[in-house]
């Protein structure tokens, strides 16, 4: 299994290289140029010339790519054209937000989607099943941005002054500060190096951070802000997971061993939750892994609607500003996460099904 993992990680290298190459070329193929996007339509050719020179944009594209790859191999993702800050720092600030949002959405999707699918399968063709599947199909077809606006309108405006009010924008209320847990614990981690990077990464997930520091006021605030975007983002994965669970469970419930388990005298709920679900899990785990990619693309829209300072919104802004290093850096990170999640999914097969041996 270790060997398998190593081989898969090695295989990820050409994948990442390919993704970098395509992103690099595509970013430069979009019409519009970074100088005008950055300095305004009135920037003179002389100014732009200096701008290109500064950012190494005058070299032929292959040379630019070679220079960039050289930096990446040394762990340097470049400097943002727009912010003049290292891309890695921007990622460190933005990625935890998106990871937190995606995890929240995925948790909602799994915790609600799987039970819904099971209920639908067990009470097949009943009103419950039909109702659930109508909802699931609606959920899949609903555009995220539209749903986001409706949710914001409902919870932030219509339910204003009720206990159900939820904030429509931002990660924390004005004035609320999530103090990083390493500061609370008095650890001196500096502002550089791998240790700082890792700790800061986790500290930037406000829900996690406030759980560690046991700051319940911040936790509540962070959760409230997370609620609407997570709901909006979870709808599609939730529906897909519910449908997959239903069809997978239906397939399993027909099997001989389910009847045999009943004949052993096991109660129905044990047969369903232990014997059937465990077998139905394989395709469900696969589909959950695939949702991660969907979550990141959904995050672009969701974060834009809910003014959530995450990767999605940053990427959106970077593309508008032709901020090439940011576009490339974020794409690589997202690709890495995707590759990692898929590897995790494949590794988890072994836990779910004893018949599977990874070679």
């Amino acid at each position: 299994m270790l060997q398998y993992t190593i081989r898969r990680l090695l295989l990820a290298i050409p994948v990442l290289f390919g993704i970098l190459l395509v992103t690099f070329v595509l970013a430069r193929a979009i019409p519009g140029d970074p100088c005008k996007a950055m300095l305004g339509e009135k920037a003179t050719p002389e100014v732009c010339e200096r701008f290109y020179e500064e950012h190494g944009l005058n070299d032929p594209v292959p040379v630019q790519f070679a220079v960039y790859m050289g930096k990446v191999l040394r762990g340097d993702l470049g400097t943002s054209i727009r912010f003049s800050r290292p891309v890695s720092i921007i990622i460190l600030e933005r990625l935890p937000t998106t990871v937190e949002l995606s995890l929240a959405a995925l948790t909602l999707a799994v915790l609600i989607g799987i039970p819904l699918g099971i209920i639908s399968a067990v009470y097949r063709n009943s009103p419950v099943d039909v109702g659930t599947m109508v909802l699931a199909n609606t959920g899949v077809s609903m555009p995220v941005y539209w749903l986001g606006l409706i949710l914001a309108y409902t919870f932030a405006l219509l339910l204003k002054d009720t206990p159900f009010w939820l904030p429509p924008a931002g990660r924390l209320s004005a004035g609320v500060v999530a103090k990083p847990f390493y500061e609370v614990f008095g650890w001196d981690v500096g502002t550089e190096g791998a240790r700082y990077f890792v700790l800061e990464f986790f500290a930037n997930m406000y829900v996690l951070n406030s759980l560690i520091t046991r700051d319940w006021a911040v936790l509540k605030d962070a959760l409230q802000h997370l609620a609407l975007p997570a709901m909006a983002l979870s709808t599609i994965p939730l529906s897909i997971i519910a449908r997959m669970t239903r069809s997978s469970m239906l397939e399993v419930l027909r099997q001989d061993y389910i009847k045999a388990a009943r004949a052993k005298g096991l109660r129905r709920h044990i047969v369903i939750l232990k014997h059937a679900l465990r077998n139905a899990l394989l395709p469900i785990v696969t589909i959950i892994g695939l949702q991660v990619g969907l979550l990141f693309s959904g995050a672009v829209l969701t974060e834009t609607i809910f003014s959530f300072a995450g990767v999605g919104r940053m990427l959106f802004e970077a593309i508008t500003a032709r901020d090439y290093p940011v576009i490339q850096g974020f794409t690589v990170v997202i690709a890495l996460i995707y590759v990692g999640v898929n590897l995790l999914v494949d590794l988890s097969y072994v836990l779910v099904d004893p018949r599977i041996r990874l070679e």
Partner: protein, 338 residues
């Protein structure tokens, strides 16, 4: 004879499909006495399996038990609530299936699956239950039971899997074992071993067995009594020797005649002409009438009009056939025919 252990009366299990109501089991009466092996024979689709699933109340949608009683140890199983029924299943009555490999859950070790029976019915702790499971695997003759208990179903052969199923079924020494074609999916040599195991365990624990099979040879060898099923009903029931020596129902006669005999040269194998009637649209009268040679030869009209009852022709020998019963007075339908 003594009191029956299992007494099925007027059992009807219908399947409510889009094409209509399929009367898979349509008025089955059946008794099983303590410690005996009752062979239940009939061709595919005659309702043998549905009958056994109905006894354990494991009929899946769209099937439903619509009528009847299943008396077992003084209780009508069809009147019990789910909790009480769960207590009967796997404990007082167990079942083994035709496809042993697909009857074992692929994601749990076989030790776990056997141990589960003790955990559920006797509230045993995992470790004790596991020890019991290993003991059972030894009892059913699985080599190296300690390590085999950790095996998963896909690592077993068909014969081994059936041994595991038998171990599981007999874990709590049930009074009745329903064996639904237990050897059909196995190699011939393994078939004999599995049947020997079932017979041996019957001797040892006094478990009564309903042996469902379409293999008449197997039934002749193993069963004490035989019930022959046709299109959802029992058509003949007799002690095994009596049945094979003097089959009365034309269907039973046809079944026995269709078995090829070793050493006897035949141009063609004997068959029963025609097919089983459509269980959605059953004709009135005897269900076998359309295929019955005897009816034509004897020119019995009643066969296609009224269904005969299951009545004795000899001691312990019951037959559902007009050939052996006084015909009813001319029916109104018969009067109208010119």
């Amino acid at each position: 004879m003594t009191q029956p252990l299992l007494d099925v009366r007027g059992l009807k299990t219908y399947f409510f499909t889009e094409d209509g109501v399929v009367k898979a089991v349509d008025g089955v009466d059946l008794q099983v006495y303590p410690g005996e092996i009752l062979g239940l024979v009939g061709e595919s689709g005659c309702g043998k399996s549905v009958t056994s699933f109905s006894i354990l109340r494991l009929v899946d949608e769209p099937g439903r038990i619509v009528e009847g009683q299943v008396w077992f140890e003084g209780q009508n199983l069809l009147a019990l609530d789910e909790a009480a029924m769960s207590h009967i299943r796997g404990n007082r009555i167990s079942m083994i299936f035709q496809q042993p490999k697909s009857s074992l859950n692929p994601v749990f070790s076989i030790g776990d699956q056997i141990a589960e029976v003790f955990q559920v019915h006797q509230g045993m702790k995992k470790k004790a239950a596991w020890a019991k499971a290993v003991e059972l695997l030894r009892l059913v003759g699985l080599p190296d039971p300690e390590s085999k208990a950790h095996a998963y179903p896909h690592q077993l052969s068909g014969g081994q899997a059936q041994r595991v199923m038998i171990a599981m079924a007999l874990a709590l020494r049930p009074k009745l074992l329903i064996a639904d074609e237990p050897t059909t999916a196995l190699d011939v040599t393994i078939q004999a071993q599995i049947m020997d195991l079932i017979l041996e365990l019957r001797e040892r624990f006094g478990t009564a067995v309903i042996l469902i099979s379409h293999d008449l040879g197997l039934i002749a060898e193993a069963a004490d009594r035989v019930a022959v099923m046709y299109a959802g009903r029992i058509v003949e029931q007799a002690p095994v020797r009596e049945l094979f020596a003097r089959p009365q129902h034309p269907y039973t006669q046809g079944l026995i005649a269709s078995v090829p005999v070793l050493g006897r040269r035949q141009e063609r194998l004997n068959t029963i002409p025609g097919t089983v009637p459509n269980l959605v649209n059953l004709p009135p009268g005897c269900r076998f009438a359309s295929r019955c040679q005897a009816r034509v030869e004897q020119q019995l009209e009643v066969c296609t009009q009224t269904e005969p009852d299951l009545l004795p022709v000899a001691e312990h020998h019951l037959v559902r056939c007009w050939l052996y019963q006084p015909q009813p007075q001319a029916t109104p339908a018969a009067e109208q025919t010119p």
